[in-house]
Subunit: 289 residues, 3 copies
């Protein structure tokens, strides 16, 4: 059964309203992120109407956070120094009541990545976590087939899918955060709710950084005044829908580089009503609402 | 009144000649810049005919400067270490009589950014400064509505516009440099002259890095044998015109990612005579020539 | 005389088989590379079917290498710290019998670049070296006209071409490695063999990072189970052919930014049989097979 508008209303999720709120408020998002996908993250934030500022320095981060609306942390090229910077910035953000999103890129693939993500979660300063299923499994202590930063292909199929949804929900509850898991079907979980987002395109994971971009966009949505679960879901639906729009524009044989351009431009073009019309949400059986 | 060719000739600015000089000489530009927009800066330098080399190490910078034609400094992701590197490199460049351009990204938004830009200006080793009006205001000690690295929306409207032009001219005089301010209408000031550049497109500021790119291109033009004010003005007109060309190619509903590609390719395609024909310059009333 | 299929078969090079092997095995390539072209390298690796992971930390690199298939080192923005990291990672990779490719960006242009490349070569942990002719000359102790990271225009013309091929072969023999030299005509040398690759497009060097991308792709091919010389040659032919495809799609007046997109998408689209059909190889007279 595909999600539809009526079901979404039953779920009481106003996705388009969240998008319009981001565009109206233009939240300033401080980003401490990897040097691989940083440019796409910045352009995606601009495309959805946010104002990005990247930093790699404790002095700078402290000042920037004094008037920021959100903090985006991404451990894609984490070092001992940048891990410390992230812990410091998350603490400041928490003090100032600014929402913090963590993308635990490659958690499970190296000790420094796993430990940094865990330390940030345990600190209680993180409000949103967005990863692929291998990363989420690693952070719940489950083994996975992760190698590097890509998702283990066997980790989310068949019966594993429901089990993984339960893990995401468990993680959300353990840390009192929202957890978003991207994959062929995305999941967003809070301690009370769980929703599947069926938007997307199979080419998106072949573009470097679409996961990071989804996280950056989610950080902007987290800074909107809406309900956190609702805003996070809107970010997932928006990015998936942007992939679908890009594919519709470019046709079946398009490559990932052309897709990237069209994906970013779709983030820019999609309006609140497009998002409400195009989002495909579904409650999962495991929904514990 | 829009600028036209005759007025430009009266101003004695030969913009196309500057562009052709860059393409002919292929200046080697050493860049110490942020990791967000560095790739666009490199591609823009290649597009206008310059040869970029990026560095993040004092040893490396020293050697590279020994045969360089220009130095581009950008504090977009400045750290305590890179600030020191920039100060060191600017001193070397000055000793070797190589022009240095500074882009004070986010000056006013954090202490480290403001202090680094000020230290570089006070050193006397900077010849060219290119920023948005919030950054320029911050460096003249004026408050602005800056948050992060974007321009404060209210900072350059109406009566503020002329006042800001006067500030840019004042800054140029104070440090004996050329100051370029980008915005809906750009301004280039030396101690004696002030010109408005009316080329551009409203989508350019929605692309991450177009300011940095303008600065990088300006550093290449600064290395041409032309008059510094003339060369700086040519760089502004070129980038604005490239935005116009991109828009003309892509139409009214294009997005920023497609625009970026077309903008870089327009930098590559525009010839000296195109620049002479397309540049729209105007003297300001405040012109103190 | 242009290379043709029959001659390639005589040379016993099965290029398409190498490409298909990369796509099938999806090798995990750990990359320690510059922050200028890192995103293109990652996207190119994804496009050919490999799985890239970038790192900038010793702890991280050690863990990632424990399940990696290849290591890519690039000194494009090398610092004292990253040079040390590269030496350390190359040693680990050697211990684990993982092939290591070095791109000596700007060797000859600064002491730290030259020394780092030499130290890595002398360590005996490098299996593949990919540079332009200025860099290769610098590493054989020959002077060149290099300034910055671009090739000296006069360094590979006329009689110099054959002399340079001999230098590449000499370097390959000295360190018992494969050496690939990119230029208007590429060369791949092992201690025993030398082949010219005539694929390519004149616009490729005007795109920042096509050299780095070729190196990254070569690192993925080096991780395939094929003969190292054969795999390296396949990577060169693939990248050259991708440039030709991009040009054929875009026409004679295309710019470098559009070309970049089409180039990356051609890397994604080209199949083994396309590569076998399109590769243009030639033995050189200096071939000492």
């Amino acid at each position: 059964m595909r999600g539809n508008r009526r079901q979404r209303q039953e779920m009481d999720l106003h996705l388009g309203t969240c998008l319009e709120a981001v565009r109206r408020r233009r939240p300033l998002i401080v980003c401490i992120t990897n040097f691989v996908t940083v440019n796409d993250c910045a352009n995606a934030l601009l495309a959805v109407g946010a104002s990005p500022v990247m930093t790699d320095s404790p002095q700078d981060a402290g000042d920037l956070l004094s008037c920021a609306d959100g903090l985006y942390l991404n451990i894609g090229t984490v070092t001992a120094e940048s891990a410390e910077l992230m812990v410091h910035a998350a603490r400041l953000a928490k003090q100032r009541e600014i929402p913090v999103l963590l993308d635990p890129v490659g958690a499970g693939a190296s000790e420094i990545r796993t430990k940094t993500a865990e330390e940030l979660l345990i600190s209680g300063n993180i409000g949103f976590l967005r990863g692929n299923i291998s990363e989420i499994r690693a952070l719940t202590g489950k083994s996975s087939t992760i190698r590097g930063v890509d998702v283990g292909a066997e980790d989310d199929k068949g019966a594993m899918f429901d089990a993984n949804s339960a893990l995401a929900a468990e993680l959300a509850k353990r840390y009192s955060i929202c957890v978003g898991v991207s994959g062929p079907v995305d999941r967003v979980a809070s301690g009370r709710r769980l929703v599947l987002v069926e938007n997307g395109d199979p080419l998106l994971p072949r573009i470097c950084g679409t996961g990071c971009v989804l996280s950056a966009v989610s950080a902007a949505f987290a800074a909107a005044p809406q309900d956190p679960f609702e805003a996070f879901t809107a970010a997932f639906a928006l990015c998936g829908l942007a992939g679908e729009r890009a594919r519709a524009l470019l046709g079946p044989s398009c490559g990932p580089a052309a897709m990237r351009t069209a994906f970013l431009d779709s983030l820019f073009a999609i309006r609140g009503e497009d998002l409400d019309r195009g989002a495909r949400l579904r409650r999962q059986g495991a929904d514990n609402q």
